[in-house]
Symmetry: C2
């Protein structure tokens, strides 16, 4: 039995747009949210696409995400802005923030926009790509609910703190988007569902010791009992744990520190979200000829792809290549959505007063289907 | 028998200043080079302090480093500069580059200076610290001779590509300085000297397979036979290899790509150095009150240090803390220099026409002392 149902991009786009519109977002706003979510599914980052819908829905219901909130610029210079998100939808605040960074960078050469009191913004890469699509070097970062345990600690103090970097290149842009933890919580959830032991170097138990028990680690994270996910580089300095922890700090500086917002260890406590983001846009023209710089990067990426492979490997990827191929495939052949997620999408339709069958077809769910709404 | 001789900071400072002066650098230039090298020793980063002297000396002898070369600004805007290093001494070019970045950032809020055709610049952290000491958020990066093998590859294509970030905080500044490889070549050399097998997840043999044989890996690196050091995150995507490789690319973009310089895989070939650097300075005042931002960061760092420890651990470090303690200790108690390095310092004195005994005392070397000059 297949656990996935395939939908076309257009079908999911219509579903998302109409749902968010029904929630009370304007058409333009719904289009932005939909675009962010679906780019994630197109890029094969299932955890941040349709699968996230239920969590956004819950966030709206709980009042963590305020539909009518408008982001405000509270501090501004020609190269910078600080945005107070007022607990609005993360994608809308972030789209605005990166748009401001791009506009400023087009004028001054570079700009940084830092955001406080926002919510989950989807994939960081979406916003880095916005700058890249405008011909700029783009960066996007976010903090999150604490999940990364600092080296030698046993309590999560930093978020998954992804850093995304995108820069124009041919035939594929450079596009790097990764958490500064060794893996994300989504990976632990997959291992938990499959009842598989976690690989060494991923997670810590409540005492701060390496753990292969996904279920136990996830329970501890939810209950804030201690433990969590290791920084990129694992548990000890021997494998570079302090380096991943350092990149997590780098992210935190551009998100929560410069914005005077909540650091990850203070977000998502007591009915408050408080997520912070950071956006950077840099125009290559302030270093010379942008076309020559783009060609120079393209050459290096090509040299990397064509360099000798490790025994048994047939391919070296440059960052963003996998996503480009995944997108082309899914735009043509459709996007597979997990049956549990489809159930959540049905529940969401019913909640906002749309007929799910009109959007998603007449799907039969059996008792094994798990919806977050159950 | 002790393998180290202890010197005071003042003794080493005088030795370095006089040696570089004798090489033909001005007094001001010698002071900058000395300051960069000795900060490394003070911070406990032995590999980049006195131990590097022989390599600089060789670089000058071979003509890779040109004493009289003056860095030129070849492109400039109020927020940026591109510097042609003309194969000069890396420390001098980099000190100038970061000084320019700081000056521009004080005027505009932020600045990026990218450098091509330079040489090894010492520790990246020195330059990030320059910005931090001026009250700014500083970053410094460099590419290097290729040593990092990209994920699924078997040939080194990127350098150790360190990224340093420093930002003012109390009681210790945030100071992060780390290679984007899992470890540096210096660590492999230490294991080789001790005849110890390398830990898993560090190095690759000429076929691109994990290797614990330090001697074999080092020989292959020198002969460019393939193999090298893994990115932070190890060998496979499961442990995040593609992430370390991504940070290596981030470094390369700010160093070799924006400057139109040589990417790591093209440096140090055919009698040419060609090292590239990147420097970023950001004034927190463009985000609000710098004192409040500094206090906010200080609070988070304190919370990290005071957060619960893993079982068996007594301390969580924030980045830069170890260096501060090491510096205080070494300024008071002196700096231990490896006997092999002392031998190299003797040889260097003799080469430039100084009496080593005047600077380093009457040291007796036995046959086991290995100097790079032997």
């Amino acid at each position: 039995m297949s656990n996935y149902i395939r939908y076309s991009y257009k079908e999911l786009e219509k579903f998302c747009n109409d749902c968010f519109n029904k929630f009370g977002f304007t058409e333009d706003e719904s289009r932005i949210i939909t675009d962010v979510l679906l780019l994630s599914d197109l890029y094969g980052i299932e955890s941040h696409g349709m699968q996230r819908l239920a969590r956004y829905h819950k966030g709206i219901e709980k009042g963590l995400i305020k539909i009518d909130a408008k982001p405000e610029i509270v501090y501004e210079t020609p190269v910078s802005a600080v945005i107070e998100g007022n607990d609005g939808m993360g994608q809308l605040i972030s789209h605005k923030a990166m748009s401001i960074a791009i506009e400023k960078a087009k004028n001054t050469g570079m700009a940084i926009v830092t955001v406080r009191n926002s919510n989950h913004f989807g994939i960081a890469g979406y916003y880095a790509k916005m700058a890249c699509d405008a011909g700029l070097l783009g960066m996007a970062m976010t903090n999150s609910e604490a999940i990364m345990v600092p080296t030698f600690g046993r309590l999560a103090m930093l978020g998954s703190n992804p850093i995304a970097v995108a820069m124009p290149a041919e035939p594929y842009d450079f596009f790097f988007d990764a958490s500064t933890t060794v893996v994300t919580r989504g990976k632990l959830e997959i291992y938990n569902k499959l009842n598989k032991p976690l690989p060494e170097g991923w997670a810590l138990d409540s005492k701060g010791k390496g753990s292969s028990d996904a279920s136990d680690v996830l329970k501890n994270i939810v209950a804030k009992n201690g433990g969590g996910i290791m920084p990129l580089g694992g548990e000890t300095e021997q494998t570079g744990s302090h380096k991943g922890y350092g990149y997590g700090m780098f992210c935190e500086i551009f998100c929560s520190i410069l914005s005077m917002g909540l650091t990850s260890n203070h977000t998502h406590i007591g009915g408050k979200g408080g997520t912070c983001h950071g956006f950077i846009a840099i125009d290559p023209k302030v270093f010379g000829d942008p076309a020559a710089i783009k060609e120079h990067l393209s050459t290096f990426l090509k040299e990397l792809r064509e360099s000798p492979k490790s025994e048994g490997q047939t391919r070296i990827y440059t960052h963003g290549e996998k996503e480009i191929f995944a997108k082309a495939d899914r735009l043509q052949n459709g996007i597979d959505v997990n049956i549990n997620t489809v159930k959540e999408m049905f529940d969401m339709c019913n909640y906002v007063g749309l007929n799910p069958v009109d959007y998603l077809g007449d799907v039969k769910f059996d008792n094994s289907t798990e919806s977050s709404y159950n």
